[in-house]
Symmetry: C2
Subunit: 209 residues, 2 copies
């Protein structure tokens, strides 16, 4: 599979908005925030203007008007090209079909969980669990206020359900791991350097205290 010309998903968000109506970049940013899409896309104004320019270079969108309102800076309004409309759908299709490696920061830290020692690791994970629980709560509230009240169709906020599901899984794993550390079922070996390389104390022998 050849590499995509554009990889930043913010471009996908831009394309998505322009399917509805022509827009200038600043309006894209505010619209994305209004619709809570800024939790799926990193909306940074600097990146946004770069992204839009890149989409123009690739012929996926084009400027349709440059208006000036009083003495405000002029706004360039963009619309998708035919190519852009096709690629929008193809891109979504591809992203859904094929999982790609993503290297989340949490995974990196878990890789070196051992370095903290059992007590500190358990404590840190427990704090994370609290944050996750709160975030789940907040997102469910947002869902209730929008989809729950019938203001927005469920399909248009489905990514929030997906995110909540993922956080719940992470929360469950985190709590389970804290429990395993505390009850000793996750054995904490004491690594030591010998002439041959590395050895670890085995379960039953003295663990780290």
């Amino acid at each position: 599979m050849a590499k995509r010309k554009i990889s930043n998903t913010l471009a996908l968000a831009v394309l998505g908005l322009l399917q509805e109506q022509p827009m200038h970049p600043y309006e894209m940013a505010t619209t994305l925030r209004e619709r809570h899409k800024d939790s799926s896309f990193k909306v940074n104004s600097g990146s946004l203007y770069d992204t839009v320019e890149s989409l123009v270079r690739h012929g996926w969108i084009e400027p349709v008007e440059t208006a000036r309102d009083g003495r405000r800076p002029e706004r360039t309004v963009y619309a998708p090209t035919g190519l852009g409309q096709d690629e929008f759908v193809r891109w979504i299709d591809e992203l859904l079909r094929t999982p790609v490696a993503e290297y989340p920061k949490f995974m990196a830290a878990v890789s070196y969980l051992g370095a903290l020692g059992p007590e500190r690791a358990a404590e840190a994970l427990l704090e994370r669990a609290g944050h996750l629980a709160r975030r789940i709560e907040e997102t469910n509230t947002v869902l209730a206020d929008t989809v729950g009240s019938g203001q927005v169709p469920r399909l248009f906020m489905i990514e929030a359900e997906c995110a909540v599901h993922a956080w719940e899984a992470e929360l469950a794993w985190t709590r389970r791991t804290v429990a395993e550390i505390r009850d000793g079922s996750l054995f904490w070996p004491r690594a030591e350097r010998t002439e041959q390389g590395w050895t670890w104390s085995a379960p039953g022998e003295e663990p780290v205290r």
Copy 2:
């Protein structure tokens, strides 16, 4: 919370390896791959050399030797400084404690699931489910071959368990969503532009076919 000087987690991997013994960058890369840590860290040789240099600039590691083996290019061997050893632990602690927004590509695509229409969306998600199931299987095999055979302590591969847990959750959500699309419980509104803005067909009215 002030922004971290270094944010690329590859630097964390480097620090982790150097806790054990001094190493040159190329050896870091091969060691990370041997230990399957390349699924938690994006090990790209270009980035690796940049990262090492950045760690030197910040005083977290320092060159301890530049050896030349025959006429091969010379290798610079690095070791962590005292500061680097402290920061290693602090960084892990912080990454574990506080979840940060990560914008995975899948979430972006799910945000625009609607654009595919029900049949194509279900089909794409189903293909993803297959990939995820395979990846889970593969990782479990690796775990059985390493931790299961007692070659490596479970703690040193705990991130693989964490990843499997996350993929299983994603798989479950994906399958459930396919089912909901197919049995109609995830209503697919037909969006339309009117003079006032946008309106959607409500459940009960004609959905998209």
